[in-house]
């Protein structure tokens, strides 16, 4: 599975992402729409870091990108590319 599929599968396992279209689902702010709660953030971060071999920096977690499903996918994809470049 690619990053997008794995991230969507993660949120799917939490009850699914609200939205009629994929575009809506990618725009979803997963915390504000209660797909996961504040306590679930730690598990989410740890799971994505372990799955993708990345480490979110404080600045990355403070970005607007981090707050949406689509933003998170883009961020992880970019982090993996940067990591691959060394």
């Amino acid at each position: 599975m690619d990053v997008k599929q794995q991230v969507l599968a993660f949120f799917g396992s939490k009850g699914g992402i609200p939205g009629a279209t994929e575009e809506d689902r990618l725009k979803c702010e997963y915390l504000d729409t209660r797909v996961i709660d504040s306590m679930g953030i730690v598990a989410m971060v740890l799971e994505f870091e372990a799955t993708f071999g990345i480490r979110f920096s404080p600045a990355e977690m403070q970005s607007m990108e981090f707050r949406t499903v689509g933003g998170l996918i883009s961020l992880i994809e970019r982090m993996r590319k940067e990591q691959a470049r060394g």
Binding site: M39, V42, P58, R67
Partner: protein
């Protein structure tokens, strides 16, 4: 128009300067040239400052840190105090330094937006608002340290196996005080309930006075630790604060109820799910106590806890920036605290403010100096009224 934040304070730091926004709890380290640039905001249009100094070189230090990293009672000063502790300097232009001033809310453009930014966080991913201490701590632990706040709250106070209080302020002030205080209050022939006993450390101290002691707590894991103690106390699970949760315990059974580091959560909840019905809490305590029974409440000092430790250990000072309408500190005013007893059927018969043990002076001179001048816990004794 750019202006200096109204709560800006400048502190000397061995030839450099700490710029500290007391309200936003933000800070930055600069040299005198940086301080002069900041001062220029009050005297010149920003465009003129940029024209004169925009490309000048400045050195700046990011000195802010999460002050309670080492515990709830650790030094809460939200910046690295001395240049020896500061990170490496960053070389920036005047334009970039002005942006740093904005980022750290030392310079503001819109006072209404600035005031709003001091409000509560909307979620753990909200970095725009200051949030109260609980929110900032939760955000720091979960996102920066990947820790569960629940486990951290205990390990910051107790050793890893939860059997002993750590040798920090909990040990040197709170536990040291209670080891002398509890035998004066409790003894053989008395029945005492420790409400919210956690892993049972203080319950054990009470039991060792010879009192028949019962510890109650909602957390089963803590109770497992508590039950391994040898002082002779009994422990039972009880969802304290939930109406009806203590109904199964007989009324009028206790000579005294003890509660430590817990009432503050009834004034400012730690999470939206938490019960905060303080009337229900006091009704339970009254029901459990015999006529004339004693309720002892020990709390982090509602005035001084979480204030920055400034000055030197012999002459400490602090800056009080909130009291009645607290937006950061998670305690209420002393009068609200006292009223909670008086309005719920208790008479206050005593109050003490804890002093640090002399041993703390050897281990942590600054903590000792501050705790000696500005008490970090208080204990209130109240008698159940007829």
């Amino acid at each position: 128009m750019a202006e200096l934040a109204p709560e800006l304070v400048v502190l000397p730091a061995a030839g450099r300067w700490i710029l500290y926004n007391v309200a936003a709890r933000s800070s930055l380290g600069v040299e005198t040239s940086g301080l002069e640039l900041l001062g220029g905001i009050a005297s010149f249009p920003e465009s003129e400052l940029v024209l004169r100094h925009g490309q000048d070189p400045f050195r700046v230090w990011e000195i802010a840190w999460f002050a309670n990293e080492d515990g709830l009672m650790a030094d809460p000063t939200p910046f690295r105090r001395t240049p020896a502790e500061w990170p490496d300097a960053e070389e920036v232009t005047g334009v970039a330094l002005l942006e740093r001033f904005r980022k750290h809310r030392l310079v503001i453009d819109d006072s209404d937006a600035y005031r709003r930014s001091l409000g509560p966080k909307t979620s753990v991913l909200d970095f725009e608002h200051l949030g109260n201490f609980h929110q900032r701590l939760g955000q720091h632990l979960m996102l920066m340290r990947r820790l569960s706040p629940e486990s951290w709250w205990l390990t910051q106070k107790f050793t890893d196996d939860l059997t002993e209080v750590k040798g920090n302020l909990y040990g040197a002030v709170q536990a040291a005080f209670l080891k002398e205080y509890l035998p004066k209050k409790f003894g053989p022939g008395m029945r005492v309930i420790d409400l919210g006993c956690g892993p049972g450390y203080f319950t054990d101290l009470i039991a060792r006075t010879g009192a028949d002691t019962l510890g109650l707590d909602p957390n089963v894991a803590y109770l497992d630790v508590a039950r391994h103690r040898s002082g002779g106390a009994r422990f039972e699970e009880a969802d304290i604060g939930r109406p009806g949760a203590l109904d199964r315990f007989p009324a009028g059974q206790a000579d005294a109820v003890f509660m430590s580091d817990a009432m503050l959560f009834y004034f400012v909840p730690i999470s939206p799910r938490q019960s905060t019905d303080i009337r229900a809490l006091f009704a339970d305590i009254r029901r459990l106590l015999k006529p004339g029974g004693l309720f002892i409440s020990m709390e982090p000092h509602y005035l001084f806890w979480l204030l920055p430790w400034l000055g030197d250990p012999e002459h400490p000072f602090t800056i009080l920036s909130e009291y009645r309408q607290k937006y950061f500190a998670v305690t209420t005013s002393l009068s609200n605290y006292i009223k909670s007893f008086v309005n719920n059927g208790f008479s206050i018969i005593g109050m003490e403010e804890l002093e640090p043990s002399p041993a703390l002076k050897e281990r942590d001179l600054r903590a000792w100096g501050f705790a000696r001048e500005f008490p970090l816990w208080h204990v209130v004794e109240a008698r159940k009224e007829a």
